[in-house]
Every structure is written in structure tokens, then in C-alpha cells.
């Protein structure tokens, strides 16, 4: 495998892609939302159990590529126990990392293991694979119950998708 592919598909991403953590329904979930990428037909559901302002537990189910599955898996690990402002700050940080809007040393919360997604920025068409679980988590937390689409302008930042495409 070439070096730049290795930048994208780091060992930890391949591992979480193959063996996703918290890959289950969540008993006692207080919210759930469905994420959908119409470009590839992938669907995933994110479940949250929120107490007060704190995310007590988070899990997901569905089918997706290695990037989106690993992103969802590592997101569930990274978010458990976080308050809403903490989760939002982490999402912003992660979003900026994969879209290439900032470097990891720019302040804010520590991304920790999520740094392995830094290679995604070199693959513009794959950025949405990485951010979809996060957008879906946000919707599940808000509990508005609608389906989050990667093509939904209201939920997804335009930077998620620099190039829209559709062809036969």
C-alpha cells in the first residue's frame, strides 16, 4: 500500500472499521437519529442516553465504509461522559481536523486518538464519511428525530462536501 493511502487508512481506523466498538442498540436510549449518505446508500443509527447535560452512553448500528464505521466507533469512545458543551467543542475540533480548517495544535479540547483522521483532509470526497456519525449524534442528542443526510445543507457544513456529484 502506498504511503499516502496509509495516511488515510491508519491501523487504528482499519481496526475500528473491522471491529467497531459500541456497535449495538442502546437500552434506555433517550434519543436516536438516523444518518444517511445518499451518494453511497449508507445508513447508520446513533443512540444516545443523556442525563441532564451529560452523555452517559452512546452507541451506533448500521452499515458503512471503513472511514465512517471507524469514525462512529471512535466517536462513541471519545464522547462517553462528556457534557454537551464539551461534545460540541470536540465535534468542532474534529470537523476542523478532517476538513483541514485547522491543525491539531490550535487550542480547544485534545482530540487524542481521533487525530488518526487527519489523513481524511487529503480525500475531499471522503470527508463526509468521517463527519456523518457526528452530525447524526448531534441530531440524536437534540432529539429532533429527522434523518440526517450528508446532502442536508442545514446539518452539514458546506465544507463537508466541496464537490457535489451525481452521475449515471
Amino acid at each position: 500500500m502506498s504511503t499516502d493511502l496509509r495516511e488515510l487508512y491508519q491501523e487504528m481506523i482499519l481496526d475500528h472499521g473491522k471491529r467497531p466498538r459500541n456497535f449495538r442498540e442502546l437500552p434506555g436510549a433517550t434519543g436516536k437519529a438516523e444518518g444517511y449518505n445518499p451518494l453511497c446508500g449508507d445508513r447508520e443509527t446513533v443512540f444516545v442516553r443523556v442525563e441532564g447535560d451529560t452523555l452517559r452512553d452512546v452507541s451506533f448500528q448500521g452499515s458503512g465504509c471503513a472511514i465512517s464505521t471507524a469514525s462512529a466507533s471512535m466517536m462513541t469512545e471519545g464522547l462517553k461522559g462528556k457534557t454537551r458543551p464539551e461534545a460540541e467543542a470536540l465535534f468542532t475540533k474534529f470537523h476542523d481536523l478532517v476538513t483541514g480548517e485547522s491543525e491539531s495544535g490550535d487550542g480547544g479540547p485534545e482530540l487524542g486518538k481521533l487525530e488518526v483522521f487527519s489523513g481524511v483532509r487529503e480525500y475531499p470526497v471522503r470527508i463526509k464519511c468521517a463527519t456523518l456519525p457526528w452530525h447524526t449524534m448531534k441530531a440524536a442528542w437534540k432529539g429532533d428525530g429527522h434523518i440526517v443526510s450528508t446532502e442536508d445543507g442545514a446539518e452539514a457544513s458546506p465544507k463537508d462536501e466541496p464537490k457535489a456529484w451525481s452521475s449515471r
Binding site: M1, S2, D4, L5, L8, Y9, L14, G17, K18, L39, C40, G41, D42, R43, S63, G64, C65, A66, I67, T69, Y123, R126, C129, S166, S167, R168
Partner: protein, 421 residues
């Protein structure tokens, strides 16, 4: 003024074998590199690359005689009009239509289907009526009919397919009744490569007086199409999938049907006289061609037809058949790879999945090897749902592809498997 001749392909002797290396030199883009590797372009079902003669034809009109058509008395307009109408004649000859007035220039196959749904459909389909399609249609041959059915209170009936991806003709026949107002089917499935026996479907429908539209987007570049032999009522195809420019395509329709149909869009060129009280529509084909068309695209399309005809569609079909057979054998021999779409009669489209690896990851890894394949649902989500996969990877071959490129694909897939296992 003259249309550019194919660059390096003098008409070959009818029995000469096809020289793929020579043809490759006609396509400038094939010499570029992708991520430092030679481009292996296997996304021809999405769109094809263009030979120099097509590129030159568009360049020539802009450099030498471009003006609006069917309007001016000045020389440039006359020359542009002649060239554009010559393109229509080439399109007629390509599909063996009886008359040039049966060739409507449109933006592409999608617009052609929408034209028929909105014009023929809105006039002839009413509440309680039915439109019959098959389960392997592209979204472009589903959604226009859904829109029509929704508006009219009509029903969309879908003929099922089997596990090989073949339309079940006896099931389709059962759907045909006095309520059926039109049948719309693909000639070749874009997602699976299935060649649909449209001639038999047309005969079945005609036996009950039902007209048939054929979506020929994938067939026109791969099969000899003869609309009079098929006896289809409408045939839709695109220039960009047969080595021509994007933004130009053809709706063939039987003159008798087209004449009875109301205009699709209003505007210039489709009228013969306008007052604020009444507009008289122009004759065929102009009745359906409102507004200034893709003039240069039409000329590029004509050059593409010349190019394909100079090689011979049968020879292209044979070359692609060989490639498909070779690729099917090699790709299906890789452990963990499953071919989706195994019809007895197939065109050069190979959809596949790799166990445990998502198609998008396959696409990204192959891309780094310079190999362009399509990954996703191919605008045929019902087909994906039938095979219970969210998506597939799809390699589709064109006249310029080689066995060496199939070998590169096989090595690429093996690389994918090593990486994700």
C-alpha cells in the same frame, strides 16, 4: 466548412481486427497520469472519454463558422444550421430511423425520458391508468414516471428481475392490461450490465396496443441499435456515453406519435407563429426543440458517431465482449469477490462486491493506483435493494480498454483485500 474526420482511423477493412493501441492514441486524456500512475479508466458506463476528432469538431465550429441556427440569413448561420442538421442525419442513420424529423435533440437520455413522460404521458395517462417499468431501471427511467403517476393518479407497475439480474418476461407480460398506457425499459442495465430482450418486450406490448420507450443510454455505445427492427416507439440515448460531448442526446420517436404529442417546452424555434392570442407550433422535430440548443455539442456528437462508425459498432461490441469475459473470469476468481449481475446476455459492465470491504474504500484504494471505477448505488437504488447491498464497485469498459488494464484492476482488488483483511 467541413466536419472533422476521425483523426487516425481511416475506415478499416470490414474483417480487420480492431487495433486498440491505435484507437487509444486518439484519446488525449488516456496519456495522463493519476497519482503518479497511468490512468486506467474503467468508468465508461458513467461517461466516456473523447477522441481528438470530437474535441476538434467543437473547436472548429467556434473558430470558423459559429452562429445561431435556423435563424439568420447570414452565411455563418447557414453554415452552422447545415452542420447541425447534418448531425441529426448522422444520428438518424446510427439508429436507422425512417426520417430525420423523428430525431429530437435533447440534453441527454434523462431529458428524453422526461419529454415523453411530460408530453406523451400527460396527454395519454389518466387516473387509474398504469405505467410499466422493470426492476432494473436507472432512476432516470423511474422518477419521471413516478412524477407523472403522482400527478395523474396513475400507478407505476414494476416487472421483477431474477437473481441473475434478468427481467422476468412472463411477469412483465402479466402486468400488461388495458390500463397500461406505456412501457418503459432499459436496453442495457447500467448497474448490472444485463442486456434486456427489448424486442420481445416491444412485441408483447404491441400485441396489446401499448407503446414502448427504450432507455438506450448504455446500449447505444455498445450494441447495434435499429429502431425499425426493434419497432420501439421511443428510443432515448446520450452523446456523452458514446464518446461524444455531454449535454447532447437524442429522443427517437415514431413520427405518428410525435406529431400527436403536445410541445414539451415553449420558446424559440418550436413555433411557427406567435401572437398573444394564439401560437402555432413548428413542425417536427423543431416542435420539441425550444431555445438555442447545444450547437457545438451537436457537432461533437456527429464526430463521435463518425468515429464509432469508422471502427464499427460490431467490432467495438466484440472487443468489449472479450474484455468482459476476460474480466469476469479474472475478477470472479479472486476469493471474497462476488459479481452482482450474472445475466446470460451481458454488456461490458462488471459490478462486484468484496467481502468485508465497503465499495467506497475499494474505490479510494483503486484510485491511488490510477484506476477509475464507479462505487455507489449507480442511481439504481431499487437494484441495490434487490441484491441486499448498499452499493457495489463497478468496472465498465469502453473501446479503448485493454486486457492489461483488467490485469491492473485485478492487482488493485488484490491490494484492497490485503489491506482490509
Amino acid at each position: 466548412m467541413s466536419a472533422a474526420a476521425p483523426v487516425s482511423l481511416a475506415a478499416p477493412a470490414p474483417d480487420a481486427s480492431f487495433d486498440v493501441e491505435r484507437a487509444r492514441r486518439d484519446f488525449p486524456i488516456l496519456s495522463r497520469q493519476v497519482h503518479g500512475k497511468p490512468l486506467v479508466y474503467l468508468d465508461n458506463a458513467a461517461t466516456t472519454q473523447k477522441p481528438l476528432s470530437v474535441i476538434e469538431a467543437e473547436r472548429e465550429i467556434y473558430e470558423r463558422f459559429y452562429a445561431n441556427i435556423h435563424r439568420g440569413v447570414h452565411l455563418l448561420s447557414v453554415e452552422s444550421t447545415e452542420a447541425y442538421e447534418k448531425a441529426r442525419e448522422k444520428a438518424r442513420a446510427l439508429v436507422n430511423a425512417a426520417e430525420t424529423k423523428e430525431i429530437i435533440f435533447v440534453r441527454g437520455t434523462t431529458e428524453a425520458v422526461n419529454l415523453v413522460a411530460q408530453s406523451y404521458g400527460r396527454k395519454n395517462v389518466g387516473a387509474g391508468d398504469e405505467v410499466v417499468i422493470s426492476a432494473l431501471e436507472h432512476h432516470s427511467n423511474i422518477v419521471p414516471w413516478q412524477l407523472l403517476c403522482e400527478e395523474k393518479g396513475a400507478r407505476l407497475k414494476v416487472a421483477p428481475i431474477n437473481r441473475k439480474g434478468e427481467v422476468l418476461l412472463e411477469e412483465l407480460e402479466k402486468l400488461l392490461s388495458s390500463r397500461t398506457k406505456i412501457v418503459a425499459v432499459a436496453h442495457v442495465s447500467n448497474a448490472l450490465g444485463t442486456v434486456v430482450p427489448v424486442k420481445r418486450i416491444i412485441a408483447m406490448a404491441h400485441a396489446k396496443g401499448i407503446p414502448v420507450l427504450v432507455d438506450g443510454a448504455q446500449a447505444a455505445p455498445r450494441l447495434k441499435v435499429d429502431v425499425r427492427d426493434l419497432d420501439c416507439d421511443f428510443y432515448a440515448f446520450s452523446g456523452h456515453k458514446m464518446y461524444g460531448p455531454s449535454g447532447v442526446g437524442v429522443l427517437y420517436g415514431k413520427a405518428k406519435l410525435l406529431e400527436a404529442m403536445p410541445p414539451y417546452q415553449g420558446g424559440g424555434d418550436m413555433i411557427s407563429s406567435v401572437t398573444f392570442e394564439k401560437t402555432t407550433y413548428n413542425v417536427l422535430p423543431y416542435k420539441f426543440e425550444a431555445g438555442t440548443p447545444n450547437i457545438a455539442g451537436g457537432l461533437g456528437f456527429a464526430a463521435a458517431i463518425d468515429y464509432v462508425s469508422a471502427i464499427g459498432i460490431e467490432r467495438i461490441a466484440k472487443h468489449e465482449e472479450d474484455l468482459l469475459e476476460y474480466a469476469t473470469g479474472r475478477v470472479s476468481a479472486i476469493a471474497g469477490v462476488k459479481i452482482i449481475g450474472t445475466a446470460e446476455e451481458k454488456a461490458s459492465i462488471l459490478s462486484f462486491t468484496v467481502e468485508g470491504v465497503h465499495p467506497h474504500d475499494i474505490g479510494t484504494v483503486l484510485d491511488r493506483d490510477g484506476i477509475a471505477v464507479r462505487t455507489g448505488h449507480h442511481c439504481a437504488q431499487p437494484v441495490m435493494a434487490f441484491f441486499k447491498v448498499p452499493a457495489t464497485a463497478r468496472a465498465s469498459f469502453g473501446l479503448y480498454n485493454t486486457r492489461e488494464e483488467v490485469n491492473a484492476l485485478v492487482a488493485g482488488i488484490e491490494n484492497v483485500i490485503r489491506m482490509f483483511r
